[in-house]
Amino acid sequence: MSPVNYVYLAALLFTIGAAGVLIRRNAIVVFMCIELMLNAANLTLVAFSRMHGNLDGQIMAFFVMVVAAAEVVVGLAIIVMLYRSRHSASVDDANLMKL
């Protein structure tokens, strides 16, 4: 199987993730979609690494995973706090950041 197909799959996953981030209001779902996009990026990195026979992409994928894990920790904590104070996990309810 040609590695190009992995790239197509990654594009598909990324699109799904992006659409989810833009469309869904539930913070948890948005969060999952962000993970989806990150993993799509990972997939491309690994795929290209394979295509070029260069390990840099795979190393990069590890970095992304570490960052994603850190992000999950911080992000989930924020979402939990948000839910506690507002009894809602909708991202649209949290709009205090405007001027």
Binding site: A18, V21, A94, N95, K98
Partner: protein
Amino acid sequence: MIGLLVGVPLLGAAVLLLGGRRLDRSGHWLATLLAAASFVIGAVLFASMLGEDAESRAMHSKLFSWVPVEGFQADVAFQLDQLSMTFVLLITGVGTLIHLYSVGYMEHDPKRRRFFAYLNLFLAAMLLLVLADNFLLLYVGWEGVGLASYLLIGFWQHKPSAATAAKKAFLVNRVGDAGLAIAIFLMFTTFGTFAFAPVLSAAGEAGEGKLTAIGLMLLLAACGKSAQVPLQSWLGDAMEGPTPVSALIHAATMVTAGVYLITRSGAIFNGAPDAQLVVVIVGAVTLLFGAIVGCAKDDIKKALAGSTMSQIGYMILAAGLGPIGYAFAIMHLVTHGFFKAGLFLGAGSVMHGMNDEVDMRRYGGLRKHMPVTFVTFGLGYLAIIGFPGLSGFFSKDQIIEAAFGKGGTEGWILGAVTLLGAAITAYYMTRVMLMTFFGEERWRKAPTPSPAEPDVEPAAETRGAYTPPHPHESPKIMTIPMIVLAFGSVFAGGLFKAGESFVGWLEPVTQFEHGHSPVSATAVTAATIVALVLGVGAAYLQYGRKPVPALAPRGSLLTRAARRDLLQDDFNHVVLVSGGTHLTRSLVYVDNKVVDGAVNGTAASFGGLSGRLRRLQNGFARSYAVSMFGGAAVLIAATLLMRAV
């Protein structure tokens, strides 16, 4: 020594102004003493000058270098020659007399100390004007007398009319001053200096165009200071000042400064016939203008002011004639100084006895009540109308003769104008005389509102029970100066004329040529006398034979126009005042809305832009995500596009 002349009265002004209330009791005597002191200094200098040869009489003294800037060297330096000497004696002499008179006249004024300080300031500035040896220092004196005049016209500044008159006098004079300033600029660019001696001696080398320009600018200056058409409007209003001021500044000395300036710059005018022609025209027009205005005024001081304007018109005209006229202009100036100061002091004396009433229609028959005033005023009157043998006769006659002597059509026209002027002078002065000292005692009855000027409210105290004034002779301190001036009015002319002594005295400074009159001197004299008789007769028929109405009749169109200063003020008001007001108002609007509007507009447009941009920050995480996504998409698209191209 020359510096002392200026310094003594200046010291007086400084001491009186800074001295405070301590000097309230003695200040006026100090001022009078200092004025007299400068007269004595002047007399001593005069005596020493007489001891010299005619050609080497001029004295110079440089005090210090005033404004030294590369190429522009202005010194505080004095020059005392025969012309200046004449003025020094006139200024200090008449000045001292008027100081003396004011001691009585201003006795009850709470601000008397300040009044005398200003008088001394005036003397200093006027002496500076005539003693300066360069045009810039002359300019200092020129504006200095303007300042003194401003302060004195507005002396009773609690009256809005006085404050307005003072401001007007200063402003109109400023227009003239600008002319003098430009004349000095022109001299500087033409000759590289503005000291009298080098400029006047080199005047011949410059082109006629330059000289004409300088001459016209000097004339503008003279018009402002000497109240000549078209800058004459301030003089009538200046009568708001105390009467001694009118006598000293607005009759005898300051207003004649224009004549001095033209005579002093004779060399420039001699080289610029066009400028001279304009000078003559201005003189002739003012001569008639002032005389006509003088005929219509019921206010005794304003009638005299019109007369002053007219007499200075004579002098300017004479000065415009060139070397045939300079000496006569100055001669008339001096005799006029005597009789006009005398007349004003007489008018002041009348007002003093009449509760400060100035309307001649409220006078009448005063000769019995004020004999000294009547006699001195009468002698001044005879002098000004040119009664044979008195001062005015000799000096005016000479001017008329010189006017004919100009030659050609011009000479005839000028001669006719001056003769006509003489007739009108006789008319209005006789009118003043008759209305004031002869006829019915109109002041005994209460005044009624005037049909001619219904808008003039009768004064409050006259509406109730009317108490007529008690005309009385003024105290000695006031009559003595009047008597002295009356002597001057009678004899000065004859003295000057005898053996052409005055002309000979001035000749080294002003040069002298005899005019070539197409008519003989005798004929001119005869014509003058005829004009005089006609004028006096007409006035007698109108004001002597018939009782004078206590209220001014409506009068003809000309009379009404003349009462309003021949509509000149109305013209000024419509064109300059309201035009200027509109201009400034619209400029204020422009400044606020357009110029500042542009600034505020720039600020506001940034504010608006940021307001728009601010809306993007709506706080919704998803819309930020869209813009991020969009931005990323655009970037990728752009990158791909760049690759493709």
